[in-house]
């Protein structure tokens, strides 16, 4: 692509790179963690 003569040079350091994060793939074989069992609270 013809973009003409260079004029100046600078550094750009984004706080976060503009690259979408990998979407976590769902693993259907993974077992769900059992819900925590609640201990009876003594009053």
């Amino acid at each position: 692509m013809e973009i003409g003569s260079p004029e100046r040079q600078y550094e750009i350091e984004p706080l976060e790179e503009p690259v979408p994060r990998e979407e976590p793939a769902e693993d259907p074989t993974r077992e769900r963690e059992p819900a925590p069992t609640l201990e009876p609270v003594s009053s």
């Binding site: 692509m1 013809e2 973009i3 003409g4 003569s5 260079p6 004029e7 100046r8 040079q9 600078y10 550094e11 750009i12 350091e13 984004p14 706080l15 790179e17 503009p18 690259v19 979408p20 994060r21 990998e22 979407e23």
Partner: protein
């Protein structure tokens, strides 16, 4: 007193530059991928593209730069290109779609135009930029009727595949560069007004 040289310096800017560019859409192992038009490079999904200087692949007016250097350099023509001029980008798209049948040994399925984010070391030129790092920001898949060539897949099919880049992708049903400029020009005006 002399401060120790840490080898790093503060950046000049923190916001990436946004420019226009054209891609070929090529057949990947797992769907359509973006590829550069004038340099054999596939654009990775969800990872930045990094520039390297292929010494000897000098396309500028001066003699090839013989010293090894980081890309881009003011004294070379290396780097990842983009232009601020939509008209220039659409002209490239017009040539690319008519000219290429395969790229990197892969079938060319079509062409795309879009906005790209550029960062790292950036060389600003008269009509655009050359940068060290890039990632697509918005992709417009060009219609099969554009560029007077038979496209293997429909714009919608390619757009679905290219959604894996994780950025907005749209099939553009335009048959000429004039129509593309009108449609995208209207979109940009609407974005600015919003």
């Amino acid at each position: 007193m002399r401060l120790p040289d840490s080898g790093s310096r503060a950046p000049d800017y923190i916001d990436p530059v946004r420019g226009w560019r054209t891609w070929l859409v090529v057949q990947g192992h797992d769907g359509a991928r973006l590829a550069s038009v004038s340099f054999p490079a596939l654009w990775p999904r969800r990872r930045r593209l990094s520039a390297e200087c292929g010494r000897g692949f000098h396309t500028g007016a001066g003699p090839p730069l013989r010293v090894e250097h980081g890309a881009p350099s003011m004294d070379c023509s290396c780097g990842i290109y983009a232009t601020w001029n939509l008209e220039r980008a659409t002209q490239i798209a017009d040539c690319a779609t008519a000219r290429f049948r395969d790229c990197l040994g892969r079938a060319v399925l079509g062409a795309a135009l879009g906005e790209v984010s550029l960062w790292g070391t950036v060389v600003q030129c008269a009509h655009g930029w050359r940068a060290a790092f890039a990632y697509p920001a918005r992709i417009y898949v060009l219609a099969p009727s554009f560029g007077r060539r038979a496209q293997v897949a429909t714009g919608e099919e390619l757009a679905r595949d290219l959604a894996a880049y994780g950025v907005p992708v749209e099939a553009l049903e335009c048959a000429s560069t004039l129509e593309i400029r009108r449609v995208l020009g209207d979109e940009r005006r609407a974005d600015r007004a919003a």
